[in-house]
């Protein structure tokens, strides 16, 4: 797969505030790539620069080998599915989808063939003459996708397209988008703050924070080998503990020396150690590598979410076995469940569950959803 889009040193500020700090990224032809990050991380701005709605202050943007920073949006071979769909209320479903073809002066016959194909693809046959304002959110979304794809762009940009849909519909649309992308084989650049969405749909995930790219990789890489504390915390749940690398494959944390599989660090180098909650086994206190007191247990359906106090640091453990609060338990961790990361500016900011609350997480999610 060849490089279709390349961003070199893209920098952008709004009102003196740096939103993107020298972004370098290339996107291959035909891949499903997701820009993932919390609100304000610069993911949407990156997408808007590719779409042509913003111009970078510095840096170069290549499309198929050509610099396109000065090319206006209507001349780019890139179409966008907007967050709130942006369907034209004065046109019906058929005319909305036909719109880009009319702008390109297609014949009436070609328009009919292509629009009908699109309607079939998004399962909206029979909706041609409906007014877009009478459609449900999911249906509007399909029209938006059909309208963006009908003129066969080389790249489809999707700006949190599922943000306004309810959970069930989101899941269905995720599958549908992935199916569409595979069927037509063009590049999708997808922006979301939902890590689960990113992991389940993408070929490549780009994790962004504070206007910088934190990590680029496949979903498995990003989950299993996070580069720093930010990525480890943002993708899934993580216990991030201060540790010292005694030598290759031996790390000391929480008063115990563990065997791990990572190496290549200096002797006695301070590191961040990541342990995923599902990789910790609960054992009897005397069999544990670490021991702690259970402070909180929440039933989550598939498993229990257990918060354990180990020497003042609170770990999260997911286990299918019930343990009672205030019980003393032992923790057993396999070597390959331990992931070592270099210290970064995000060290110490994440990964301790002392102030953890699901409600707070959900509240802040709702905030970000409304903000955009």
């Amino acid at each position: 797969m060849s490089k279709l889009i390349e961003l070199k040193g893209i920098t952008k500020s709004f009102d003196g505030e740096c939103v993107l700090n020298s972004i370098n990224l290339y996107i291959r032809d035909g891949e499903f790539i997701t820009l993932l990050g919390p609100s304000g991380c610069g993911k949407t701005t990156t997408l808007r620069i590719i779409g042509g709605f913003e111009t970078a202050d510095e840096g170069e943007l290549y499309f198929d080998g050509h610099e396109i920073s000065d090319v206006p949006p209507h001349k780019r071979q890139v179409n966008t599915v907007f967050q709130k769909y942006a369907l034209f209320p004065h046109l019906n479903v058929y005319e909305n989808i036909a719109f880009p073809l009319r702008m390109k002066k297609f014949s009436e016959e070609d328009i009919k063939t292509r629009v009908t194909d699109m309607l079939k693809m998004v399962a909206l046959v029979g909706f041609e003459n409906k007014s877009v304002s009478t459609l449900s959110g999911g249906q509007q979304q399909r029209v938006a996708i059909a309208r963006a794809l009908v003129s066969h762009p080389k790249v489809l940009l999707l700006d949190e397209p599922l943000g306004a849909l309810d959970l069930k519909l989101r899941k269905d649309m995720q599958n549908e988008l992935k199916t569409i992308q595979k069927a037509i084989g063009i590049t999708f650049i997808y922006v979301t703050h939902d890590q689960e969405e990113a992991l389940s749909m993408s070929d490549t995930v780009v994790v962004m924070a504070d206007g910088e790219i934190q990590q680029i990789g496949t979903p498995t890489d990003i989950y299993n080998e996070p580069k720093n504390a930010f990525v480890a915390d943002f993708i899934g749940e993580s216990n991030i503990v201060d540790g010292i690398m005694l030598e290759d494959k031996r790390v000391r944390m929480s008063g115990h020396t563990f065997t791990c599989v990572d190496g290549g660090y200096a002797k006695n180098e301070p590191v961040d150690v990541v342990v995923r909650p599902e990789d910790v086994d609960v054992v009897k206190p005397e069999d544990g590598m670490l021991t702690g007191i259970v402070t909180n247990v929440t039933f989550k359906g598939v498993h229990y979410e257990i918060i354990v106090d180990i020497g003042g640091f609170k770990w999260m453990i997911q286990s299918t076995d019930y343990v009672a609060p205030d019980e003393k338990i032992g923790l057993f961790i396999e070597p390959d469940a331990i992931h070592i990361m270099k210290k970064s500016k995000y060290s110490g900011m994440f990964g301790d569950y002392s102030s953890f609350s699901d409600e707070i997480d959900q509240l802040s999610d709702a905030d970000t959803a409304e903000e955009f």
Partner: protein
């Protein structure tokens, strides 16, 4: 629930009373006079006798249609430019637009007269002897000058309410900047255009002081005729003309509303 509805009717009472006294009742009086003769007997005479005013009706329609058209031609680009300016400039432009409205309409019309008069400011300035007052052009100019803000404001409001992503979507889907305007923004601002056109056309067709002052006495528009009838106590004829005018305006507004977005509903009706 019942208690609440009593409260509602008590709250609504003053408004209903007001509407009945100052809107419904005068309408009934106008219709009553239009269909009675001087003795108060029912009669179609007034309405049938209106044919002699046919030319005045036509002239009024001609001038107000031209004035409305010019207002639209000037007003739409102006509204568009204001709506696209940044927030600070928008406030400033809107203030400039409203500024003349702080002065009474009559005084403004007199000022135009003073400027355009044969020995007036403009002729003195240019050292010419242009004869402007008393022409159709002067009356149309007066209408445009007086009523332009009523065209610009609704269109401006409408354009500035169009979400930013509509502009972006249009451009993304292949519209050049001109086509963004003609294919998306203009159709989406249609309800503003309709209310602008209505708000300029209605006062234009019924105006009397603009034609009196700027027409220099050579024109009589339908507003003048109505005024003349009432001043000379020909109440029945005046009422009949007013009644026909109302019907005409009603028809033109409902025709215009046919073009507006059904979701927005009629602006006036």
């Amino acid at each position: 629930m019942k208690k609440k509805s009593i409260m509602h009717s008590i709250a609504a009472a003053p408004h209903i009373f007001w509407a009945a006294l100052f809107i419904i009742l005068p309408l009934i009086i106008v219709i009553f006079y239009a269909f009675t003769d001087a003795e108060g007997n029912f009669s179609f005479e007034n309405i049938l006798g209106l044919s002699e005013y046919g030319n005045i009706f036509l002239l009024s329609i001609e001038l107000s249609v031209i004035a409305t058209f010019i207002c639209l031609l000037v007003g739409y680009p102006l509204a568009y430019i204001i709506a696209k300016a940044d927030a600070k400039k928008q406030k400033f432009f809107i203030m400039l637009l409203m500024l003349p409205m702080w002065t009474n309409l009559l005084i403004r019309t007199y000022s135009i007269m003073a400027i355009l008069d044969d020995g007036g400011f403009l002729n003195n300035l240019l050292n010419t002897e242009l004869h402007i007052i008393g022409t159709k052009g002067a009356v149309i100019f007066g209408m445009v000058y007086d009523f332009l803000p009523y065209m610009v404001l609704p269109i401006y409001t409408c354009i500035s309410k169009i979400p930013k992503n509509m502009w972006e979507a249009a451009s993304d889907l292949g519209c050049s900047p001109i086509r963004v305007l003609t294919k998306v923004i203009f159709p989406l601002s249609m309800s503003g255009v309709i209310s602008g056109v209505t708000m300029v056309f209605v006062p234009s067709i019924s105006t009397f002081y603009i034609s009196q002052k700027l027409g220099g006495g050579t024109f009589e528009l339908i507003g003048d005729t109505i005024e003349r009838q009432f001043v000379s106590s020909a109440l029945n004829t005046g009422a009949a003309i007013s009644f026909v005018m109302m019907i005409l305006i009603l028809i033109s507004i409902s025709v215009m509303n046919k073009f507006s977005d059904p979701d927005d509903g009629g602006i006036i009706i």
